[in-house]
């Protein structure tokens, strides 16, 4: 069983991993992408705070700087972690939907 605290669907770390699942992105691109798919506008401090934690946990890694921007990508460990968390969230959503329609 995964830690319940990690199942918050608005957790910035989770949102960033979902954003990076479609490919490497730099900070501003992640900000816009998260706003687009989750309707949540992350603050710049929140975004980089979460990004630094993900990097420290080995879930994302920086790529060489492009111009003034540094893109990041999911590591294999990050992809596994994201899979686990999405599967756990999906089970919760399915249970909730089933109970609501019962």
């Amino acid at each position: 069983m995964t830690d319940f605290q990690n199942q918050n669907p608005n957790d910035p770390g989770l949102l960033l991993m979902i954003s990076l699942a479609s490919g490497p992105k730099h900070g501003h691109a992640m900000l816009l992408d998260v706003e687009h798919f989750a309707g949540t506008r992350l603050g710049p401090g929140t975004l980089y705070g979460a990004l630094s934690r993900l990097e420290a946990e080995g879930k994302v890694e920086p790529l060489p700087v492009e111009g003034r921007r540094r893109p990041y990508r999911l590591t294999p460990a990050g992809r596994t972690s994201l899979n686990d968390r999405l599967a756990s969230l999906q089970r919760a959503v399915e249970a909730g939907v089933a109970r609501m329609s019962a």
Binding site: G27, H28, L31, G43, G45, S52
Partner: protein, 180 residues
């Protein structure tokens, strides 16, 4: 402005992510919401760094106001001025009716004036202290550095003196009231 806000984050964090965060802020713009977000995230990062250091993950130096000690002494002196003025007026047995009325009607203002000197002493004392946590040979070691700066020491001494005087005065009055 962004450089100032970045100071909420630990130095090591700023060295690694500071430029990237500054670039992002230059694209999003600085608003009160963005400033509050950076302050909150920076404070959280400092707490996280402190936790990691205490667990022996890295070395950490906690020196909240090591730079610009004179500015902190001046800030302490400014906080001290209202209470000190009232104490001097009281010592000279000079009363200013509007001030007396205001103090008597605003209980929390009175409390703020009593706590002011202690807060001023704290502000002036902050730049004099530096605490370090170092991870050595599997164990953690804490170190404390203290330095003396004339302006800060003067404000600390006056602040603590006035605070002690006021607390003593309050205790004396309380005892006298109970006795009566």
């Amino acid at each position: 402005m962004t450089r100032l806000l970045l100071r909420f984050f630990p130095a090591a964090w700023r060295d690694r992510y500071g430029d990237e965060l500054s670039d992002l802020v230059s694209e999003t713009g600085v608003s009160p919401r963005v400033a509050a977000d950076i302050a909150r995230a920076g404070s959280a990062e400092r707490i996280r760094a402190a936790r990691v250091a205490l667990k022996g993950g890295t070395s950490m130096i906690f020196a909240p106001a090591w730079r610009h000690p004179t500015a902190w002494a001046v800030a302490g002196a400014i906080v001290l001025v209202p209470t000190l003025t009232l104490v001097v007026l009281a010592a000279l047995r000079t009363t200013v009716a509007p001030v007396d009325d205001l103090l008597n009607s605003q209980r929390y203002l009175d409390l703020a004036l009593v706590l002011g000197p202690a807060f001023a002493a704290l502000l002036a004392a902050l730049p004099l202290v530096r605490i370090g946590f170092t991870h050595i040979d599997g164990g953690s070691e804490a170190s404390l550095s203290v330095r003396l700066r004339a302006a800060n020491v003067v404000v600390v001494v006056i602040g603590l003196g006035v605070a002690s005087l006021l607390v003593g005065h309050i205790l004396f009055e309380s005892v006298m009231q109970i006795g009566a």
